[in-house]
């Protein structure tokens, strides 16, 4: 068994000679976007810059959570100072809403540093993303596709991954996030694939809404194991915090003795 690891390494090296995108990520090479110690360990140090990552909501109605997770990653990657590009098709904007400046500012993505591109067709979004990933002025490129985003197939995502790798240099990232409005089984060359659901929050001391919680399922990871975590987003400090799941039973309010439900509107 002792000789397996070197053999594997040698094989990986020779594969990397054939296809540079299979180059094994060595510790210390390239930048990482860190989420949370537990998740970073599974990811081998964090989400690698110079790569493409996919995010999709795990169910209908969770698009807000998926967008929020992607934007939180963009916030960490950009550090509030560097520019972020958001690419969406016209249809994605009508279907899921457009990025909203005041909300972005509160969430931790400076809206003054955001460039929004609306494209007519999904293929245009892929083209624009590929161009933008090569641009070293952007810290993060987010593209969203409606439905399963089947136009982003293995070939297309491979192109995007290569563009991201090209765009990454010692000081810049080439960090690409692809949001699909529906989870998909389409094969993809992305480095990771995330399925996002919101998680019940812990209300604050006054009964108001608590910090945003994400229920993350890592469905695919080229550098390590998959897994599932629940984390909170602290939009003041722009960091993820680990969170314990809140049982639904805890949060149910006793409604006996209240007025009967009234239909309005």
């Amino acid at each position: 068994m002792g000789s397996t690891a070197p053999t594997l390494n040698r094989l990986r090296q020779s594969l990397a000679g054939i296809d540079p995108s299979l180059k094994p990520a060595l510790p210390g090479c390239g930048r990482e976007v860190g989420l949370d110690p537990a998740i970073d360990a599974a990811l081998g140090g964090g989400l690698s810059c110079g790569a493409l990552h996919e995010v999709a909501p795990s169910g209908p109605g969770y698009l807000g959570a998926a967008s929020g997770f992607a934007l939180a990653l963009a916030s960490i990657a950009s550090g509030q100072r560097r520019e972020v590009l958001w690419i969406g098709t016209d249809y994605a904007g009508t279907e899921g809403g457009r990025p909203y400046g005041p909300g972005l500012d509160l969430f931790g993505v400076a809206s003054a540093k955001l460039v929004v591109l609306r494209v007519p067709k999904p293929v245009d979004a892929l083209w624009a993303m590929e161009e933008a990933l090569r641009c070293r002025a952007l810290s993060c490129v987010i593209a969203e596709l409606t439905g399963e985003g089947t136009v982003a197939d293995l070939t297309a995502t491979r192109r995007l991954s290569l563009a991201a790798r090209e765009g990454a240099s010692a000081r810049t990232s080439g960090f690409g996030l692809l949001i699909r409005h529906n989870a998909t089984a389409v094969p993809s060359a992305a480095a990771t694939r995330w399925s996002i659901a919101p998680a019940l929050s812990r209300p604050d001391a006054y009964g108001g809404l608590g910090r945003v919680r994400f229920d993350l399922s890592l469905r695919k990871n080229r550098r390590g194991p998959v897994g599932r975590w629940i984390i909170e987003w602290d939009h003041h400090e722009h960091v993820f915090l680990p969170a314990l799941p809140v049982g639904v039973a805890q949060a149910v309010v006793d409604r006996s003795g209240r007025a009967p439900l009234v239909q309005t509107g």
Binding site: Y62, E83, G96, Y100, A112, A128, A132, L209, H236
Partner: protein, 503 residues
């Protein structure tokens, strides 16, 4: 330049079998009259202005075509476009003339004579009969092209050339021409040999005004069809080029010439135009705006590459282009910058990316978010074209945070989505709602946050007050809902809408 048979040439160009003799008719004062005719018809003794009935009486089988002034006009515009390869300063002289200012251009074609000959010859190849004259003044050239000897009037000799022209060559009303004829005055020389005052008294100022214009006593500018570029460069080819790579290579070469000129003035281009002159006379024009003054030929090439990629078939090279021209229509001062030396110039790289995306998708699609002075959510920010936002935008006004969750949504629907809502009390927060056929039960709700509409902007007074709620469903999904209208005061049964999604 006079296109003497414009209407009939147009018809002939489009007909499959050649007909030598026909006339074009139109209703003039409720009578069918001949407005244009072919050389063949003219030889039969027909004239423009003759009634169709008279013509039919002479030649019962005379073929007739309806006049189409709009098509004539389009053809004239098309020819004017094509003439752009001689000079950028072209004026239309409807219905059948074009005015070209060839000052400073003629030497490129081997002199004025050669230019005029080339123009007439190339038009003839396209089936258009033209007469061209070059003179100091518009009036003189106009008269000579129509009534005089074609050719060149050397500078300062327009007066001599005008003498033999008939009075009609002065661009005056047919009525005046006829009146002068009855007095025995037929040519310009007759007019000039007599005192001016009686003419002014008898025929008004038009006659003398036209005469002065033709003689150059009064300046007559040509109003150009296309904006005059600040700088331009062009390249002609003996053999037309058709490959996209060749066209782009030419554009880059022209760009470097153009940039040399602009650099000397300390300017960069904001608006570029490429005109591609196709061998068969069609002209394609591509325009391109940029976010910042541009002085880098490879970038100019790259932008046009995007534009060409989008146009695809709309810009069919056909038999190829024989002239490519690049002009800078708008320029702006730039201060010379040091480029290179290893620094990462991120701002410039981003500006270039925005230009490229703009060239491909249209500048309006690349936007930045600019805050507006209103608290109505859908108007609180505007999407402003990114190239127009020159400096970093002012930060949005700070919105106070009262909870651990952001108070504004990440995504906002342009059109609020109607939803079915159940609430405990009519003006309370929702307990359950249905959106896109999915039911959501609300576990936490915060609100209402009241947004009153701006009555000073709402002239009909129909806008209803909104009460916004932030709700979290049993699954944890957070949404921004509002109830439109105050219960009982503004409406009997308020409607509910979903306006945004939180993370």
């Amino acid at each position: 330049m006079w296109l003497r048979r414009l209407s009939t040439d147009r018809v002939e160009r489009h007909s499959s079998k050649p007909v030598e003799t026909f006339v074009v008719v139109a209703s003039v004062q409720s009578a069918q009259r001949i407005v244009a005719l072919t050389d063949g018809a003219a030889r039969l003794g027909l004239k423009a202005g003759m009634g169709l009935a008279d013509a039919r009486a002479m030649y019962p089988k005379l073929p007739v075509v309806e006049a189409d002034p709009e098509a004539d006009r389009q053809l004239l515009e098309g020819i004017a476009d094509w003439c752009d390869c001689y000079t950028p300063l072209i004026g239309l002289d409807p219905p059948d003339g074009l005015l070209l200012d060839v000052t400073g251009c003629a030497h490129l074609f081997g002199g004025e004579t050669a230019l005029a000959r080339d123009l007439v010859r190339r038009l003839a190849q396209q089936g258009l009969r033209a007469r061209a004259a070059v003179a100091d003044t518009v009036g003189c050239a106009w008269g000579l092209a129509r009534y005089g000897k074609q050719g060149i009037v050397p500078a300062g000799e327009s007066k001599a050339a005008m003498l033999s022209l008939p009075i009609a060559g002065l661009r005056v009303d047919a009525g005046i021409v006829a009146d002068l004829k009855t007095s025995g005055l037929t040519c310009v020389a007759d007019l000039m040999s007599r005192p001016r005052a009686p003419f002014a008294a008898r025929f008004g100022r038009e006659l003398l005004f036209r005469l002065d214009q033709a003689l150059g006593h009064i300046d007559e500018p040509i109003s150009p069809r296309q904006p005059l570029p600040a700088a331009m460069a062009e390249q002609r080819f003996a053999d037309p080029i058709a490959r996209e790579a060749d066209v782009l290579g030419t554009i880059e070469k022209l760009a470097s010439q153009l940039v040399t000129v602009l650099d000397r003035r300390g300017e960069g281009g904001r608006l570029f135009q490429v005109a591609l002159f196709r061998a068969d006379g069609a002209v394609h024009r591509l325009e391109l705006g940029t976010g910042s003054p541009l002085r880098d030929p490879p970038r100019i090439r790259k932008l046009f590459e995007e534009r060409l990629a989008v146009l695809g078939d709309a810009c069919d090279p056909g038999f190829g282009y024989d002239t490519v021209r690049l002009s800078a229509l708008a320029t702006e001062r730039t201060d010379p910058m040091q480029t290179g030396l290893g620094g990462d110039d991120h701002a410039e790289e981003l500006a270039h990316l925005i230009d490229r995306l703009g060239a491909r998708f249209g500048l309006r699609r690349v936007t930045r978010i600019v805050p507006q002075d209103t608290h109505i959510p859908e108007y609180a920010v505007a999407a402003v074209p990114a190239h127009a936002v020159r400096t970093a935008t002012t930060p949005l006004p700070f919105i106070e945070q009262d909870t651990l969750a952001p108070a504004q949504p990440l995504r906002l629907f342009e059109r609020p989505q109607p939803i079915d809502v159940t609430a405990e009390v009519p003006d309370g927060p929702p307990v359950q709602f249905q959106w896109r056929r999915t039911k959501y039960r609300v576990i936490h709700a915060e609100g209402p946050e009241r947004v009153a509409m701006e009555w000073w902007r709402d002239d009909r007074g129909s806008e209803l007050t909104r009460d916004y709620f932030r709700v979290e469903s049993f699954q944890g999904a957070r949404m921004w809902l509002y109830r439109e209208g105050l219960y009982g005061r503004e409406v009997a049964r308020p409607h509910w809408y979903l306006h945004g999604l939180f993370a």
